[in-house]
Symmetry: C2
Subunit: 213 residues, 2 copies
């Protein structure tokens, strides 16, 4: 049984964008606004620093039942007992990650092209992150933007839930959910906001409003 | 029971220094010259690339009984079933790594200062890598060079075997072993050599000659 998770408002961290307040404080404020899932993404961070940040995030997320997912570093996830791992196409293959983390942890995979929806990966992942919807400065070497049409095509083809990522802002809640996404993965629009709680609440409200109609 | 290992001639890989022939071919040639241990070190390499190189290295090392150790990425080591892990002071703490890899795998730790010889680390590691002996271009952000006097002081204080690393060349075999090192960790002097087998054989011969006297 996989740990229960809700992709609706999926916050992805960024050390640089969090600014001087740091990732842990930015996340602490964002979860007041209704974040449903958090991914620690720190591609330049060393292992020890990632372990320390992940442990601090678990302390604030566990009491609220918000799962913590670690980007790329399966070892960091195992070291702190995080709730899951998210890998990209150039990270350790999903099947190997699944063997390391066991059947219950959450496993996500980044997908930009239909050709990346392959059987070995899809049989072991719990969701896919689809994008980039728009070009973004957060991720270097990202694939070209796929827009909401690309999102809709991948969401229709995917047997697992899809979260939209890449330059997504509050005004994109309706087109993303209408395209079939189960949620939105947000980096800068929340983590770099002056008021991360208000920014997250804006997304939450729009998501709830879309689902009520 | 820890996997048996011999620190005498410990080859550390470097993607850049291996040049166009690549790390796997360079290692394949070096082991003809008597390398006793290999560490895959690829701090800029993504997880999938590291898994592929590690798997290819295991194919050539296993038949010869030469252990393969992975630098930093415990997850890469677990994914391919490598023989051990080597971590630095800013990587995942040694005690956490030991819990992940279990009691039998080889665990090494980089140490530059006596203050880094701490009980929690030393109770779980099988050897320490001491250096840099000389300044080196291979590792950015390295500590200042400690020389053979620094090596001797740390070797005397360490309860586990010590391998000397950092700018070590064939002419340093005698002073390194005389300072109490169990072996030498070599990057450029072998991996960047025109003839890695001959370069490794030169080290091996000098090590054997020192021990015979």
């Amino acid at each position: 049984m996989t740990i229960p998770f809700d992709l609706s408002l999926y916050l992805v961290t960024d050390e640089q964008l969090a600014g001087p307040r740091g990732v842990v404080e930015a996340v602490g404020r964002a979860i007041e606004g209704g974040v449903t899932l958090v991914q620690l993404r720190d591609p330049k961070g060393k292992g020890r620093a990632q372990v320390e940040i992940a442990a601090a995030l678990l302390q604030i997320l566990r009491p609220r039942g918000i799962p913590l997912i670690i980007n790329d570093r399966v070892d960091v996830a195992l070291a702190v007992g995080a709730d899951g791992v998210h890998v990209g196409q150039s990270d350790i293959p999903a099947a190997m990650v699944r063997r390391m983390i066991g059947p219950d942890k959450i496993l996500g995979l980044s997908v930009s092209y239909a050709s990346e929806l392959t059987a070995p990966d899809l049989s072991v992942v719990d969701y896919i992150g689809v994008g980039p919807i728009y070009a973004t400065a957060t991720k270097t070497n990202a694939a070209p933007p796929i827009g909401f049409d690309g999102l809709a095509a991948l969401a229709a083809a995917s047997p697992v839930p899809v979260v939209a990522i890449g330059g997504v802002k509050a005004e994109h809640v309706v087109p993303a959910l209408a395209a079939g996404a189960a949620g939105l993965a947000i980096v800068s629009a929340i983590i770099a906001a002056d008021d991360p709680a208000a920014a997250a609440a804006d997304f939450s409200t729009r998501i709830a409003r879309f689902r009520a109609t």
